[in-house]
Subunit: 400 residues, 2 copies
Amino acid sequence: VPNMTAVDDQNNNYSFFNESLPKHRLMTPGPTMIPERVILAMNRVIKHHKSEYFSKIFEEVRDGLKQIYKTDNDVLIFTSSGTGMLEAAVQNFFSPGERVLVVNTGHFGERWARICQVYGLTVRVLEVEWGSAVNPKLIEQRLSEETGKDITGVFVTHTETSTGIENDIEEIGKIVRETDALFLVDTVSGLATSRFETDTWGVDVALSASQKGFMCPPGLGFAAISERAWLANKKATLPRYYFDFAISKDNMIDFQTPWTPAITIIYGLVEAIKIILEEGLENVWERHNKLARAMRAGITAMNLTLFPINLAPNVTVVNCPDGFTPAQIKKQIYDRFGIYIAGGQGRLKDLVFRIGHMGYVDKIDILSVIASLEIVLKEGGHIFDSGAGIRSAMDVLSGD
Amino acid sequence: VPNMTAVDDQNNNYSFFNESLPKHRLMTPGPTMIPERVILAMNRVIKHHKSEYFSKIFEEVRDGLKQIYKTDNDVLIFTSSGTGMLEAAVQNFFSPGERVLVVNTGHFGERWARICQVYGLTVRVLEVEWGSAVNPKLIEQRLSEETGKDITGVFVTHTETSTGIENDIEEIGKIVRETDALFLVDTVSGLATSRFETDTWGVDVALSASQKGFMCPPGLGFAAISERAWLANKKATLPRYYFDFAISKDNMIDFQTPWTPAITIIYGLVEAIKIILEEGLENVWERHNKLARAMRAGITAMNLTLFPINLAPNVTVVNCPDGFTPAQIKKQIYDRFGIYIAGGQGRLKDLVFRIGHMGYVDKIDILSVIASLEIVLKEGGHIFDSGAGIRSAMDVLSGD
């Protein structure tokens, strides 16, 4: 077992454990692994963000994002994590005291509700038991109860990586469409991993980021903004500057950003978008679905249970079996097999572990995690039929 | 002359003009050129930002930043451009209606005043003629006039890249120290290019970013925060979340960030900080000073005049000579010599051109710009003694 001590050698390198062997495999629900083509693209020389060269790049990125968002709406790009985009969505479309409905299906729904509170909105939270998707009928009911009280925004998480669920954005969209409220969706982890149709589903504001389905390093956030949302933007009085969508839109006319953007990551994104469109968006979604089915077949065959009921295709959240802690499993899998998975988040910290399978993930990645889990769990005394996990996963993947 | 048409070849490469020859040289006041060591560092495999490996990296970056800031204060790191940090400095320390004094010595002072207005502060602007540094006595006068009216913050730009001036932060610090106001400094372009001593000079909040003196791609912002500033932070009611310094500080205890950071750029920053500390901070400042002197000797020997009076050592702002436009000069220098300089910014757009010499810049870079300018200006009919610019610059640099 490699030693965990950091060695800062004379070549200015970090030699930590797992720097070389076992190979490092990042299987968390973001950040994710980066394809070689994306890494190479990011090595390009830095060109000025106001140059004609860069504007061409930026135009291509914008057009690619529109295809992946399935939208004719404006798509804007920011130097930010996904959380910055959640905050931007609040700042840009609302005024203090406005009533909004936030659906809380996990850690990121909770975070969005918190941001709305910080900005002085009157926040109605629809609390959903963690592990379940929201029943769209409950949103309909809440909105009808609030009639006349002007709910001006409905906030929903598409795929919630803390609990592993996927909300039915299409159905919720039909309901919100019947009201005057804006429909705002956090699809930071959902976009380019699970079906998402911004325009067809009537999503007014859809937020995403570079380090999940987009297979890029973290550092860029995206926002797709409908015409209805732009009307709200004009009236919204909450303060904003760095994330001011109107300033950004003005600059996008010339394919520029108002502030210096994360140039290297945009270089990577150009390449990542090509990879996604070459595979085809439907195929990307189907790959995630199939890999998720294989993962769940393997997990359940190992006599483990899934935490969520309504499964997202980009992460598998597993109840930690008796006799183990998430931290132990995570450490063993990493130290011995180089696979970095995630523990639980927020209130689920000690109850579940999470395996990300989003973005640059293939069949062998899935089988690798399952095999590693089998060894660690078997040695730790968890009872299941040896090889059952890997056989079940292979069954799903065979023929493909 | 290479053709400007974009060619998207089958290897997924962009072949724009200047992609290969002439070589691309970025001589703008940010973003700047990236050392090979930094580029290589950014190719490292993405490790999770909550892993022990990453915490070690993050601790090293934090410690390095403190050395470069010359501070014992907290230094926080954000995924953002410099503008985001200017906004964060407003959000984190003030409440609506508070009176602040913003010194406007150029485009970035103007921007900071605008941000204060957006956030509902009562903004007093000390307008300084562009091209001059602020006279610290004027700040003293303004603060004494405002006595009893509780000016709670004084905002100053250290080196202002739009006009090419440097403000005397040390002297201003002595004056602000005599009041209860916080002293907030935008040293986005100044840090690691010109002497800056956060603690000795009494700077409460010092903002910077990765793409100037730090020789990294854009994408990271930094903030050094004094104990006095933390006290103000506790009382400040302006809304903030993504840039909430208190949340960030809490996470820094474990050398983590609350939101997913720009991991690749942090890898690069580790290496860039090493390069800076290997050269030595005093030597970095002296190199910038000497290169600036060579640049100005060359510029004035070409019968050109400098726009600013109080010169910053990281950018040279030149009055555009008769018979030329900044855009023409910029285009010629780029198309023929591969050197990308900047035009004027804001109200100086058509009046000046700007040559950045910050970060990863050496003697040959300076001579290259001057030689290119000589050729372009001579051909365009500008009258000066051929070779005078390059000879004068070489005189400054010889013996070194």
